[in-house]
Amino acid sequence: MTMTQKILAAHAGLEKVEAGQLIEAELDLVLGNDITSPVAIHEMEKMKAEGVFHKDKIALVMDHFIPNKDIKSAENCKCVREFAARHEITNYFDVGEMGIEHALLPESGLTVAGDAIIGADSHTCTYGALGAFSTGVGSTDMAAAMVTGKAWFKVPSAIRINLIGKPSKWVSGKDVILHLIGKIGVDGALYKSLEFTGEGVKNLSMDDRFTIANMAIEAGAKNGIFPVDEKTEKYMKEHSKRPYKCYEPDEDAVYDEEYTIDLGKLRPTVAFPHLPSNTKTIDEIQDDVIIEQAVIGSCTNGRIDDLRCAAQILKNRKVKKGVRCIIIPATQKIYLQALEEGLLKIFIEAGAVVSTPTCGPCLGGYMGILAEGERCISTTNRNFVGRMGHVKSEVYLASPAVAAASAITGKISSPEELGE
């Protein structure tokens, strides 16, 4: 069995499962946000359920449109807030405590290795970085799971990604996952697990792994998962009191396909509009791509490593006139850490704005919407038509290093171009 199959088997009370089998699994955590939870709550009310399956095993994170951008989003949050109070949901996160869900939950110790987690948000696959099975679902699945504590799954087959080597200075997790999506396509892992293994894993920070697992969905995958090593255990011990369980794939585990990525050979990579698979390395970009906005943040790249990297580049430099640089720490804790490390000062002195945690511009909600014809370099996860604003605007996906460097030059650039 693969890592994923072992976790699913354990949560279904089965000794063995195989790809294609339909199972019902017990869940360790059910997640929703301010967009998907109101729909789930409405569906749950239709079920006339007496209560939730476990008040500690549901997480409701207000993060997409808050602090509320308009009356309708305020009503949505109010609906969730009242639901959380009514059912005494322990892990309800509102303004002041909230962060972007997929940065917040691991940081709060709510997700650990061996867990089975569903979330009504497609980037729920992020927790695979810790060796958990986690996958995105819709609001109805969330509603059913809040009542029953269970979900049905078709056991996925898997693609094995063998990582070797060590990334060079300006290459990070974002470049790894963009490279992979560029290679296999936005449906390259459809219905499957992406299992990352190999000696290269140890050369990736936890934040790199979160970024990689986060974008597994952008290859169509059901989940992305990493093995647990010393770095994972250190992270979990620092953040969580929950017991965890580590799963290794069997030696005879069956994989549909296998790819090897030499981290040492990767270059900073950019996904051009309008698909995350439309990638070019920084060296393959021939003509200047002028940008009007740079966004550094999101569940993909709003963690402390990301902000440190951006600060390293923006320090003692200025954002080019005519470029709007928006930096969004993913959680309050990261925000505070960035403050204490002096990163916010660097950002503000460079001419960037720093926002409270929010998904905001990533999905074209607010806090950085694009006008017709505008281009944005962004550390977010999707560059679909109209994703960040006008249908004729363009989003280019890249790492924090490339986004910060581009904010300075006003065109898509590698940090190497800036010199020392």
Binding site: V39, K46, K48, T124, G138, T140, G220, G365, V385, G386
Partner: protein
């Protein structure tokens, strides 16, 4: 169950951001969402769509976000069935869960052109493209999913099995 209507046709990787842009996700009312369905790739869709019509597309339909608002908008717009070569997995689950019929059939999906009259016969497992006079067999749903569809969605299924 049998549905019949005129087809709309789209290409590969129709994502949930174009099915229902996030700028409208401050609402979860199906009718409000339906009024903006597909508008970023097809401004005419909402004006042209009639109750019972079929939506067809090529590969990876519904990729991207997990927003259930996407199948909700399609269903409330009047679409009776979505036929595609393949579907993104979250969209597939969501459609089944809210009772929007959805069929993976590469051959039928490839052949359908906009305006074709298409019938989907779930009981006999056949898609009929009446304009092109062609028939395509479809895979029956697994028994587990059939029960959810028969109950018209997961919520009703859970109520029934209480």
């Amino acid at each position: 169950m049998k549905v019949k209507g005129n087809a709309f046709k789209y290409g590969d990787n129709v994502d949930t951001d174009v099915i229902i842009p996030a700028r409208y996700l401050n609402s979860s009312k199906a009718e409000e969402l339906a009024a903006h369905c597909m508008e970023d790739i097809d401004k005419n869709f909402v004006n042209e769509v009639k109750k019972g019509d079929i939506l067809a597309a090529n590969k990876n339909f519904g990729c991207g976000s997990s927003r259930e608002h996407a199948p909700m908008a399609i269903k409330a717009a009047g679409i009776s069935c979505v036929i595609a070569e393949t579907f993104a997995r979250i969209f597939y689950r969501n459609a089944i869960n809210i009772g929007l019929p959805i069929v993976e059939c590469p051959e039928a999906a490839k052949d359908i052109e906009k305006g074709d009259e298409v019938e989907v016969d779930f009981d006999n497992g056949i898609i009929r493209n009446l304009s092109k006079e062609k028939e395509y067999p479809i895979q029956p749903f697994p028994e587990f999913m059939q029960r959810i569809i028969e109950a018209e969605g997961l919520v009703n299924y859970i109520i029934k099995n209480k």
